[in-house]
C-alpha cells in the first residue's frame, strides 16, 4: 500500500511505498535490461504472468488472457498506486497526506520481444496510440481521478527494467505539479494576449524554421527554444487541441507516422539512446479549453542530473536546440 505525502514548503507530492521491511539496497546501475523472451512476462504464452488484462486488441475469436493479441493492457504487477479503496485526505500539524489511490497500467505494445517502437509499422504504432486513447477515455469515468499520465521509459539510463516494448499509464487523484505549472503558465499567457501560448510557439517555430525536426499534415516535431536536455524534442498537434484522447483516428495515424520518424532519427543520430517520453494533456474535467494544448515531450537520457539541477530546478543544456534539430534533420534514416 502506498501513501501520497505533500511537501509542506513547495506543495510537491511524493508517492511513498509503505511496505514494511524494504531493506536498503546498495543499488543500482543495472547493466542488463531484464529478462530474455523465455521468462518475459510480456511475451505471448505468458499471459498468466501478469494480472488479468484490462484491454486488448485481439485477433477475432481469441479469448482474453491468451495469445492472439496485438496490443495488451494489464495492471502493473508492482503498482505505485492502488485502484481499490476510498480517497481520504488527512493532515497532522503542518503535514498533509492522502491515501495512495490511482491506476497504474502497462501497455504491452507488441507480442514480439525484440521489436522496438521505432521498428513498428505505422499501423502497429497506431494500435498502441489507440490503446492509449481507449484507456485514457475509460479512466475519465472514475470520479476519484484527476489526471492520466501516459509515459514510456526505454533503456536502463531512462529507468526501464524490461526490454520488451511497453509504455505505462498512471492515473492520479491530484493534478501533478509539472502539468499544473504548464496550465498556470498557459493561463497567464492567455490572460495577457488571448492566444494559446503553444499555438504562438508553433507559429514562431514554423516561421523561424531553425528548430523544426520534421512535420506532416497534422503534427510538428521540434526542439524547444528552452530545451532542458540535449536533443529534447516535442511533438504538437498543429491545430489547437486540449485533450489527447479527443484526437480522431486519422490524426492519430499522422501522429504515428511522425512519432516513428522522430524515434528513428534519434536512434540514428544518437546510437540507440535511452529515452523517456510523456504525453501532457489537460486534466480530466479541465475547464481550460482555450489556453492549454496537449503535446508529447521526448527526452533522451544522455546527461546526468547533478547537484546544481536538483538544488535549483535550473537545467544546464550542453547542446543548443538549433544544433540538435539540425543533427536530427540530417540523420540518415530509411
Amino acid at each position: 500500500m502506498s501513501e501520497l505525502r505533500r511537501d509542506p514548503i513547495t506543495g510537491r507530492w511524493t508517492i511513498i511505498d509503505m511496505q514494511e521491511g524494504l531493506a536498503p539496497e546498495p543499488q543500482v546501475e543495472a547493466q542488463s535490461p531484464g529478462v530474455g523472451p523465455q521468462h518475459c512476462p510480456f511475451c505471448p504464452g505468458h499471459e498468466n504472468l501478469t494480472p488479468p488484462e484490462i484491454y486488448a486488441q485481439r485477433q477475432a475469436g481469441s479469448a482474453p488472457n491468451t495469445g492472439g493479441w496485438d496490443v495488451r493492457v494489464v495492471p502493473n504487477k508492482f503498482p505505485a498506486l492502488q485502484i481499490e479503496g476510498t480517497l481520504s485526505r488527512r493532515g497532522f500539524g503542518v503535514l498533509d497526506q492522502c491515501t495512495g489511490i490511482g491506476a497504474h497500467e502497462v501497455i504491452i505494445e507488441t507480442p514480439n520481444h525484440t521489436r522496438q517502437t521505432e521498428d513498428f509499422t505505422v499501423d502497429e504504432l497506431l494500435k498502441v496510440l489507440e490503446a492509449y486513447k481507449a484507456r485514457s477515455l475509460d479512466l475519465r469515468n472514475d470520479s476519484r481521478l484527476k489526471y492520466s499520465l501516459i509515459f514510456k521509459n526505454v533503456g536502463t539510463a531512462a529507468g526501464a527494467t524490461l526490454e520488451h516494448a511497453h509504455s505505462q499509464l498512471i492515473a492520479l487523484p491530484i493534478v501533478p505539479k509539472r502539468v499544473q505549472e504548464e496550465l498556470n503558465g498557459a493561463e497567464r499567457y492567455y490572460d495577457f494576449r488571448e492566444r494559446c501560448v503553444f499555438c504562438d510557439m508553433l507559429y514562431q517555430e514554423l516561421q523561424q524554421d531553425e528548430r523544426i525536426v520534421c512535420e506532416n499534415h497534422s503534427f510538428v516535431a521540434y526542439c524547444p527554444f528552452v530545451s532542458r536536455f540535449p536533443f529534447e524534442t516535442w511533438i504538437l498537434p498543429k491545430t489547437h487541441n486540449v485533450d489527447f484522447d479527443a484526437t480522431p483516428t486519422e490524426n492519430l495515424r499522422d501522429l504515428s507516422r511522425l512519432l516513428k520518424e522522430v524515434l528513428e532519427r534519434l536512434r540514428a543520430a544518437l546510437n540507440k539512446p535511452s529515452y523517456n517520453f510523456m504525453i501532457h494533456t489537460a486534466p480530466i474535467d479541465s475547464r481550460q479549453r482555450d489556453t492549454y494544448h496537449w503535446h508529447i515531450e521526448l527526452i533522451p537520457a544522455l546527461t546526468r542530473i547533478a547537484g546544481f539541477e536538483w538544488g535549483t530546478g535550473f537545467y544546464i543544456n550542453p547542446t543548443p536546440p538549433e544544433q540538435a534539430a539540425d543533427i536530427l534533420r540530417r540523420a540518415a534514416i530509411d
Binding site: 505525502r5 511505498d17 503553444f198
Partner: protein, 344 residues
C-alpha cells in the same frame, strides 16, 4: 558566451551552452576511468595545474598564494557553465526571453591531501570548508548582477562527479533566483502570512515531538528525513535557531554543523555501502536591491536555510519527469530508523 533562456510556459530558465556544444558522440554511455591519484591537479603541490586561486584558507602562516600550505582552496571551475565577465544583455527573441550567461562558477577544494569523500575529513576540516563557503558567498553577494548563489556537491559518478577523485564542492552564482528556491520562498511566505510563524521552525518542533523521522540532533542542528522525501534516504539538515542566511551562521554553528554533516554522511556510507550523493544548500537570495527585486519584508522571518542531502539510488524516469511527482520506495520513517541504528 552561454545563453540563459526562459520558458514562456513555466518561466523556467535554462542555461544553453552555445560555444563548446556537445555533439552526439560526446554523450558516451560508458564511465570514463578515474584519474590516477598521482595526476590529481587538486592535491597540495600541484597548484600550478589549476587556474589561479580566488581564495584560500592557509594553514601555514605566510605561505604564498598558489603554493602549498593551504587547508581549503577555491579556484575558478575548470568547465564554467556561466561566465563572470560581461553584462546580462537582457533581450527578446520573438516571444522568448534571453540573456547572456553571466555568473560565477567556483570550485572549493576541500582538503590538501588526496581524499575523495567529505565524510572522511575531520570535523575541523569540514568546518573550514563550510566557513570557506560562507566567505565566498558573502563576497559574491556584493556583485550587483547576481541574485543567488548555490553551494552544492556531487559525490560519485552517478551523482555527476567527474574523473577527479578529490573531495570538492562548487558554487554557482546566478543572475536569477532559481525556480526551486523561489517555490520554497513562496511556500514559506504563504505559511507565514497565515500563521505569523516560520514553517520550518514549526516543522522542526513537530518532528521533535514525533521523533520517528529524526536521524540525529546536536545543540545547534537537526538532521531528519523529510515527511514527503522524494528519494530513498533523503536527509535534510536544519539549524534549530531560525535564520534565513547560511552565510551569516556563526563559527560555533558551523563547527556544530560540520559534526552533524559528518555523522550523517558516515551513517549513509555505512548503511548504503558508500553511495553516490548530492548535497545542495538552500538559503535566502541576495537582498542588495531589496525593493527593486520585489522581495518581501518578511523574508528574513519566514525563510529558514537548510541543507538537502540526496543519495543517488533510484533513477528518475518518465513518470517523474512528466509529473513532478516522485515515487519513493523507502518510507522516511524507515530511512531515519536505519540511519539512527547505523554502525559508525
Amino acid at each position: 558566451m552561454p545563453e540563459l533562456r526562459k520558458d514562456p510556459l513555466t518561466r523556467r530558465w535554462v542555461i544553453i551552452a552555445t560555444e563548446r556544444a556537445n555533439r552526439p558522440l560526446d554523450f558516451s554511455a560508458s564511465q570514463p576511468a578515474p584519474q590516477p591519484a598521482a595526476d590529481c591537479p587538486f592535491c597540495e603541490g600541484r597548484e600550478g595545474d589549476t587556474r589561479k586561486e580566488i581564495y584560500a584558507v592557509r594553514a601555514k602562516a605566510g605561505s604564498a598564494a598558489n603554493s602549498g600550505g593551504w587547508q581549503v582552496r577555491v579556484i575558478p571551475s575548470l568547465n564554467p557553465v556561466l561566465r563572470v565577465e560581461g553584462n546580462l544583455n537582457r533581450r527578446a527573441e520573438g516571444m522568448y526571453d534571453v540573456m547572456d550567461g553571466v555568473g560565477a562558477h567556483e570550485m572549493i577544494i576541500e582538503c590538501p591531501h588526496h581524499e575523495n569523500n567529505l565524510a572522511e575529513l575531520s570535523i575541523e576540516q569540514i568546518a573550514a570548508v563550510l566557513t570557506t563557503a560562507t566567505t565566498r558567498m558573502e563576497d559574491l553577494s556584493k556583485d550587483q548582477r547576481f541574485r543567488y548563489v548555490l553551494w552544492f556537491k556531487n559525490h560519485g559518478s552517478i551523482a555527476g562527479a567527474g574523473r577527479i577523485a578529490h573531495a570538492r564542492s562548487q558554487l554557482i552564482a546566478t543572475p536569477i533566483t532559481p525556480k526551486l528556491v523561489k517555490e520554497e520562498l513562496i511556500g514559506a511566505r504563504r505559511y507565514y502570512e497565515e500563521k505569523d510563524r516560520c514553517l520550518l521552525c514549526d516543522l522542526i518542533r513537530q518532528e521533535q515531538e514525533g521523533g520517528s523521522r529524526i536521524v540525529l540532533e546536536s545543540r545547534e542542528m537537526i538532521a531528519l528525513s523529510p515527511f514527503a522525501a522524494r528519494f530513498p534516504f533523503e536527509v535534510w539538515i536544519l539549524p534549530k535557531v531560525h535564520s534565513c542566511d547560511f552565510q551569516k551562521a556563526s563559527p560555533a554553528v558551523l563547527v556544530d554543523m560540520a559534526g552533524v554533516l559528518k555523522g550523517v554522511l558516515l551513517r549513509l556510507k555505512s548503511v548504503l555501502d558508500n553511495p553516490s550523493y548530492n548535497i545542495v544548500l538552500h538559503t535566502a537570495p541576495f537582498r542588495h536591491q531589496r525593493e527593486r527585486l520585489g522581495h518581501w519584508k518578511t523574508l528574513e522571518d519566514d525563510f529558514h536555510w537548510h541543507l538537502e542531502l540526496i543519495p543517488r539510488l533510484a533513477r528518475v524516469a518518465g513518470f517523474e519527469w512528466g509529473s513532478g511527482f516522485y515515487i519513493n520506495p523507502t518510507p522516511p520513517e524507515q530511512t531515519a530508523n536505519y540511519l539512527r541504528n547505523a554502525n559508525v
